[in-house]
Subunit: 339 residues, 4 copies
Amino acid sequence: MSTINIAIIGLGRLGMCHAEHVASMPKVKLKAAFALDDEQLDLAHSRFGAKPYKDWRMMINQENLDAIIIAAPTAFHPEITIYAIEHGLNVFCEKPMGIDMEEIEQMVTTIKSRPEQIFQLGFMRRFDPSYQEAKRMVISQELGDILYMRGYGIDPFKNLKSFVNYAGSNDSGGIFLDMTIHDIDLVRWIVGKEPVEVYAVGNSLAAPELQKMGEFETGVANLRFDNDMVATLVAGRTAAHGNHVEFEIMGSKGWIRVGQEASPYYTTLFTDKGIVRPCMQSFPERFSEAFKAELQAFIYAVSSGKPNTVAAEVEDGRAASKIARACQESAKHHHIVKL
Amino acid sequence: MSTINIAIIGLGRLGMCHAEHVASMPKVKLKAAFALDDEQLDLAHSRFGAKPYKDWRMMINQENLDAIIIAAPTAFHPEITIYAIEHGLNVFCEKPMGIDMEEIEQMVTTIKSRPEQIFQLGFMRRFDPSYQEAKRMVISQELGDILYMRGYGIDPFKNLKSFVNYAGSNDSGGIFLDMTIHDIDLVRWIVGKEPVEVYAVGNSLAAPELQKMGEFETGVANLRFDNDMVATLVAGRTAAHGNHVEFEIMGSKGWIRVGQEASPYYTTLFTDKGIVRPCMQSFPERFSEAFKAELQAFIYAVSSGKPNTVAAEVEDGRAASKIARACQESAKHHHIVKL
Amino acid sequence: MSTINIAIIGLGRLGMCHAEHVASMPKVKLKAAFALDDEQLDLAHSRFGAKPYKDWRMMINQENLDAIIIAAPTAFHPEITIYAIEHGLNVFCEKPMGIDMEEIEQMVTTIKSRPEQIFQLGFMRRFDPSYQEAKRMVISQELGDILYMRGYGIDPFKNLKSFVNYAGSNDSGGIFLDMTIHDIDLVRWIVGKEPVEVYAVGNSLAAPELQKMGEFETGVANLRFDNDMVATLVAGRTAAHGNHVEFEIMGSKGWIRVGQEASPYYTTLFTDKGIVRPCMQSFPERFSEAFKAELQAFIYAVSSGKPNTVAAEVEDGRAASKIARACQESAKHHHIVKL
Amino acid sequence: MSTINIAIIGLGRLGMCHAEHVASMPKVKLKAAFALDDEQLDLAHSRFGAKPYKDWRMMINQENLDAIIIAAPTAFHPEITIYAIEHGLNVFCEKPMGIDMEEIEQMVTTIKSRPEQIFQLGFMRRFDPSYQEAKRMVISQELGDILYMRGYGIDPFKNLKSFVNYAGSNDSGGIFLDMTIHDIDLVRWIVGKEPVEVYAVGNSLAAPELQKMGEFETGVANLRFDNDMVATLVAGRTAAHGNHVEFEIMGSKGWIRVGQEASPYYTTLFTDKGIVRPCMQSFPERFSEAFKAELQAFIYAVSSGKPNTVAAEVEDGRAASKIARACQESAKHHHIVKL
C-alpha cells in the first residue's frame, strides 16, 4: 500500500477534526488544505504540513491528489464534489449532500458515472459501536418485530447563540436537513426500508429570532413506513445538559436504547445537587472514535478500490436528503407529505 | 366527619384494587359490590363485608349510599354514571368516560346538571409524586419553554395473549382511548392547553390477529399545539421487560424524564446477564400509591363537598376522549385530524 | 381479633412516625403517650387522641395496655423494657437495645423469663423488600458463594450540626452502636452466622468537635467470619446528597447492590448540572414502608401470640450490640477484637 | 525528534497489547521482541516487523535500543530491569516491580543510580480520565475532607479456571501484589500520603483449589492513614458480569464513584431479563485508552529526557509493593501489620 495523498476543503471545527485524524494515519499524507481564513490555514500548515490554498480548484489542479475531504458549508458540497469527481478524485463529503435537490441530483449523476471512484458520505454514526450493536440486534431478530423507533439529536443550549449568528448569514438547509438527517440515515440503514410518508412539526419557542430566518430551533419528524412502523425523530438546539444524542428501537422481544446517559467519564457524583452523571458536551466528543473510524474506512476504500460496506453511499445521501426536505415541507405547511 | 357509605361496580383486577383501598380507609364503609361473577362477589363479601349484588340498579336503590366506584367495562360507564348521578350519588368513574362520544356528551350534561355532586375520573397518574414534580417544574418555569413532550405506556408482552382474548369479545375502544388517554390527560394537565391537531399511526406487527378485530397493538399519536409544541405518545402491549410507563418533558432550561427505569426494588444485579435493574411488572404495582391517593382524594371530596383540585373532572374526561377518538380516526385513515 | 391497646414512650421524630402508623391501623388503639415535651404531648393528643403522660411508669400502671412502643433515648431502653415486660406487656423497642452491656444482659434475662410475651426490636430494614430480595437470593444460592459484603449508612451532611448538638448532651452509644448496628443486624440475618473478629477505625475529620466528645463522625468496621468472608460496614454523618443507605453482597455467581441510587421519585433530570437523579433525604423517607410493615408485624404478633419470623428478637439485639461494642473498642485502641 | 528504538520482553496478552500501541506511534520503532513461545514471536514479527529473540540479554546487547518494555512474568522484572538499566536503556516495566522485596530494593538502588534514564511503572489507571477527574476533585477540594475510599478490582469469573492453571505453575505474588496493588497505587497517588497500618483478609471460597497453592481468590485490604482515614480495597477473580473495576472517594462535600457501571457501549437493553447494561469483559477493554496514553507518556519522556509527572516512578513501585506485602502478611496471620 503506497501513500495516499489527501487535501481537505474547509477547516472549521469538523474540518480540523478530520485533518487531525488524517494526519495521524500511517501511509496517508495531508498535502494541502483550502480555507478562506488565514489563521485556519496557518494552523493546518504548522500542525500538519498542509500546503495552504485559497482557491480549491487550483488546489485540485496543482496537487497530485488521490482524494479530498469536503468539510465546506453544505451549499458548496455539490459543486466541489462534481469538480473533484470529474478530476478523478475519490471524495469524502460531509453530510448532508447539499441543500438544493436539483444540485444533489446532478451530484448523484456525476458520481454514478464514475463507479470506480470512491464517494463516501460523512454519516459517522454508522461507525459508532453502539449503533452497530443496535443494527446487529435488529438483523439477528433478537429484538423481534420492530414496532417503533425514536431518535433525539439535541445540541447544547450554550451553542444556541452562535448558531443564531451563523444562521443569520448562512443557509443551514433547515433543522431537518442539517440535524435530523443523521437519524433519517440511521433509520434507513437499520431497517433497510424507505418511509412512505412524513409528518413533521417545527417550532422556535426558545429562540424566536430563528423563526424570522425561516429556521426551526426544534423539529419533530414522524416517518411512517408501509407496515405502519413509525420513527419519531426530534432535533433541537436547546439541551441544557450538553449534547444529547439518543436512539431507541422498540421491538416485540426487547428494546435497545443508545446514549440515554452518554458520559465523558465513567463517573457518578453524589453531591448536594443530587446523584449526577456528567454529560458529553459536544458531538466530536461523543463520536470521537466514529469520526476516526469513518476516515480509516474511507482511506482503506481508496487504497483497496472497494467501498466500505458500512459507509453511506451516494444513494443513501440522496434518499436521506429527500426525506429531510419532505419533513421541512410538512413542518412548513402543516400537512402530511407522501414519498 | 361521619362514615361514608360506598358501593363498587365491577370487581375485576382494578375493581378489587379499589375495594381494598376503600376497605382500609378510616370512616369509609364498603357496603356493597356488584359483579356478574360469583367468585368475585364471594371474595368481596368475605374480605370486605360487601353485600353482593348482581343488579347494580337494585344495589343503588336499596343501599343507602353516599358514593359509588365504577370499575365496569368502559362501555357501561355512561349508563351507570347517569343513573347514579340522577340518584344523588357521588361518582368515582374509571377512565375512560366511555366509548361512544354521544353517550359521553349525555354523561357530561347529567353531571353538570348536578354541580353539588362529586364526579371524579380515574386518571390516577395525576396523583403520582413523579408527575406532580414534573408539573411543578413546568409551572415554576424551572424547565424554561416547553418544546416537546413524550409519553410511553407499554404493557408487558406476557399479557398480550390475554388482551387478544379480551378484545375478541369486548370493545376496548381502541388503543388510543384505552391506553394513550392516560398520557393525553397528563399532557393537557401539565401544559394547561388543548392540542389543535393530531397525527396518529397504529400497527399490529407483533399481534396481527388484533388487526382483524380493528385493534392496534401499537399506537403512535402526535398532538400538535397552537404554538407548534408537539407531544408524541406511544402506547403498546409488547414490552418484554414489564410495564413501561415513561414520560418526558423537554424544556429549554432542562428536561425531566419520569419512570425510564422504574424498579420494584432499589436493587441492581450484577450477573452473567450484565448489570440488571428489575422492572415493574404491572401498572397496579407502578401506581400503587397513586391508586390509594386518588381514592383518598375522592373520599375527602365527598365528605367535604369540594372536588379535589388535582383530580380529573368531567370536562377533562370529555376533552381527553375527543382527542383519543381523533387519534383513532387519524390512524385509521392516515390523515391529520384537526380539533 | 379484638382491639389492641398501645402506648408509646418517646415522641421524637421516630416516635411520632410510629404513632402515626399505629393510629392508622385497624383494630389498634393508641391510648397513651409519654414524653417530657408538652408540645409533643399536645400534638399526640390532638392528632391521635393519645392520653398524655409525663411519667411512663404511671402510664403503664394506669392504662390497660397490651403493648408499648419504646422510642426513648437508647440509654433508657433497658429500664423501660424490663419494667414493661415485668408488668406483662408486649414490647416493641427501638434499636439498639441499650448502651451498657450489663444492662442489656439484664434485659435479655427478663425477656427470656417471659417467653409468652412478644419482644420485637426495631431493625426495620429487615422489612424492606429490597433486603428481603437480597436475602432470598442468598438463601436460594442464586448468588453462589458469598465472598464479601458491604454496607453504607451515611446520614445527610445537613443534619450534622444538629447531631453535634445532640451528642453534646446525650450518649448516642457511639457511631457503631447507633448506626452501624443496622448493617451488623443485616449481615447476621442474611448469612445466618456470627463474625469471629472485628477491625474498626473511626475518624471525625469533617466534624473535629465530635472527637472531643468521644464520638466518631465516620466509622469503618470490618467483620471477619470463620470462613474468612468479610463484611465492611461504613457509617457516617456527612453525605452531601442526602441519606445514603447502600448494601451489597458479592457472590461467585452474581452480586446484588441495594439502594445505590435510591430516589424519592422515578425522575431523572437533564439540566446544566448534568444528568441528575434526586436522592432520598431522610431514613423515614427511605424506609417508610418498612416502618409500617414492622409495626404491622408486631401488632399481628401481639394479637396472634406468635413472634414474627422476619423480626429481630432479643438474641439478635444482644448479638448486634456485642459486635457494635467490639467495633467501638477496636476503633478506640487500633487493635483487632476477637469475638 | 528522532526515531526511538524499542524492544519488548514478553508477548502475552499485555505484551502484545503494548506492542500494538508502540507499533502505531509515529517516530517509534519496535525493533525486536523476546518471548519463549515461537507462535508469539512469529506474530510479533509478521505484524510489527519485530526481530525475534529467545535470549533477552542477547537482544539488549545486539540491538541498538533506546528503551525496553518489560511484560514478562513478575518474578523476572528485577533481573531484567537491572540489566537493562545497567546497559543504559530506558525502561517501561509492568506492575508490580517484583515479588521478592530484597530484589525490589536492588532494583530501586540501580534505578536511582542512573537518574538520567527513564524508569516508568505500568500503573495505567493513572492515565484514565475518570481517575484523573477524581484526583482533580480531591486536589481542588471540591469533595471536602476525604473520609473514606473504596476500590474494587474483580476479574471475570470466566477467567478463573485459566488463572487456577496459571497459578499452578507460576508465582503471581498473591492477590494483593498482583491485583490490589493497582488500587494501592491509586490511593497513594490521590491522597499523597502513606498508610500507617493494614488489616487484610483473604479467602478462596469459590475456588478452594487456590487455597492449597497459597493463593487467595478474594482479598480485602484496609489501609489506615495517620488521620484515621481508611481505604478498603477488594480484589477478586469471580465477577459473573465481567471486569468490575470501581473506585470511590467519600468526601464531606461530595463523593465520586468511578466505573460502577462501566459499559462497552452506550446502550441500555430492555428485555425479559430486566433493564440491562452490558458490562466490560476485560481490563484491556476498560483501559484501552489508558494503556495507549501511558506508553505515549513513556515515549515522550524518553525523547525529552524528562519523566512524565503523572506516571508512577520507582519509589511509587517500591511503596506499593511494601503495602501489598503487608496485606499479604496480615491476611496470612490474621493480625494488623504496622508500616
